[in-house]
């Protein structure tokens, strides 16, 4: 069954949809966590510590966190690989363009591929910045996420990269969520409006929620 899935264009698209939905669910949890920054350093840092102790005493310190990280890594790799392979196939299937060109499809639909690449690059930068601290501006302090976030958004490029990526994310989810419903066969004529509305609401809430943090730092609400 795994082979039929990966060898078929419909199956590969299913992999893309499932991995996309996994990342989406994670982002919903992520944005809720991020918003705690507005309640002060103490609460935010405590939340960061709790993430490492989830599941104790059944789980050891950081086990749950590493489990989530592994699932996300698998999802990102599966999503990007299937997106790449399917895109290659699509481009090959339509080698010559029409002489008479027309603007096609919505903006969100047309930007899925480049938007996806932007998100992929963003994820790498984001992990190196706030998880490992490798490219963090100013001394990265393990266990002090509040200060680290403030440092990142005190640089102009930190704000630009982050906000641009979150706008790309909103567009990606707007088309992606609805697409995933079609790929997984759960869309229908009666549900179509509801699905499109959920896609737009999710895209808007996630984008606004994530962008609130750099805006908070820039305006001095978070410092």
């Amino acid at each position: 069954m795994a082979r039929t899935m990966w060898d078929s264009s419909v199956g590969k698209k299913t992999v893309m949809a499932v991995s996309g939905v996994i990342m989406l669910l994670y982002l919903v949890a992520h944005v809720i966590g991020n918003l705690k920054i507005f309640f002060g350093a103490e609460e935010f840092n405590r939340y960061g510590h709790w993430l490492r102790t989830v599941g104790e005493p059944f789980m050891h310190y950081e086990w749950t966190l590493w489990l989530v990280r592994i699932v996300l890594l698998v999802a990102v790799v599966a999503h990007a690989t299937s997106a790449y392979q399917l895109s290659r196939r699509d481009i090959k299937a339509r080698p010559s363009k029409y002489v008479h060109k027309k603007p096609r499809a919505s903006y969100a639909t047309r930007t899925m591929r480049w938007g996806g690449v932007i998100l992929g690059l963003f994820i790498v930068w984001h992990v190196l910045d706030l998880t490992t601290g490798t490219v963090h501006p100013g001394g990265f302090q393990e266990g002090h996420p509040y200060q680290n976030v403030v440092d990142t958004f005190s640089t102009w490029y930190g704000n630009v990269v982050y906000i641009a990526a979150m706008l790309a994310l909103g567009l990606h989810i707007r088309h992606g969520f609805w697409s995933a419903a079609q790929t997984l066969g759960v869309g229908s004529r009666t549900r179509d409006r509801a699905l499109k509305t959920i896609a737009n609401v999710l895209a808007l809430l996630l984008t606004a929620g994530f962008i609130a943090v750099p805006v908070g730092v820039m305006t001095g609400v978070v410092s």
Binding site: S9, T14, S96, K97, L184, R189
Partner: protein, 249 residues
């Protein structure tokens, strides 16, 4: 009406093609698009040039043979087949671009004619039912719920023209294949091959080199028979169901 036509001319499958410009005059708005091309061809024959090759058969919108991309739209500006498009949809003095279906699975044979036998092979892979031949069965022998009959009929309207592939930025044949799969999969007559049909037809579609679906919706906008985009969703559901069942066996 006086029109300027820019037409894709290509000697054969291996030749390089290019757009050629022609003028036609005295076109009646009541002519069909193909009749307008007939006028062009008579003109070309009289001047000793090679007439433009294009596909057509019934000229009444039911066979699926006609296939032109007109000003960038498969079957032109109206939601109908090229043969049922009339010149009243254009203005006197217009310049009209006419191109063949573009997809690597539909190679150009000559001028505006493409090879659509890939569709035949998709049908051969599963677009049939196993039924005893002979006299027609009693109409009430196999009851079909009204909703299923309507669903099947909506999809049975596909005439296999390939406009969906021509319009898709990925050259995907998902709308065509889903119309055929859904038409038979919902009916009791199609039930014995329900799983193999969708798996085999999708596999053949991939093997022919068609692209995949990115849900742009261009196919359903171009389809002269109004096959809905949601048809693809239904096929995906059938494919996942069949794959699950095959995995259990």
């Amino acid at each position: 009406m006086k029109l300027t036509l820019r037409v894709w001319r290509q000697k054969n499958a291996d030749a390089e093609g290019a757009m050629s410009t022609y003028e036609v005059d005295d076109i009646s708005p009541d002519m069909s698009f193909l009749e307008m091309l007939d006028v062009l061809n008579e003109q070309l024959i009289l001047s000793g040039e090679e007439p433009v090759a294009f596909d057509h058969d019934c000229r009444e919108g039911i066979c699926g043979a006609c296939s032109l991309v007109i000003n960038g739209d498969a079957h032109g500006p109206e939601r109908t087949t090229t043969c049922q498009l009339h010149m009243r949809s254009f203005q006197d003095g217009d310049t009209i671009d006419i191109e063949p279906w573009r997809a690597s699975a539909f190679p150009v044979i000559k001028d505006l004619v493409v090879d659509r036998s890939a569709f035949d092979r998709i049908i051969q892979a599963g677009g049939y039912i196993t039924a005893p031949t002979g006299s027609a069965p009693e109409a009430h022998a196999t009851p079909v719920p009204k909703a299923d009959a309507d669903f099947a009929f909506e999809h049975a309207e596909c005439i296999g023209c390939g406009a969906c592939v021509a319009a898709c930025p990925n050259g995907a044949a998902m709308l065509f294949t889903s119309a055929k799969v859904n038409h038979l999969n919902v009916l009791p007559q199609g039930a014995p091959e329900r799983e193999t049909r969708v798996l085999d037809m999708v596999a053949q579609m991939d093997a022919e080199g068609f692209g995949g679906c990115t849900l742009t919706g261009e196919c359903a906008t171009a389809c002269p028979k109004g096959i809905p985009l949601m048809s693809i969703t239904s096929m995906n559901k059938e494919w996942l169901r069949a794959t699950r069942k095959a995995g259990k066996r």
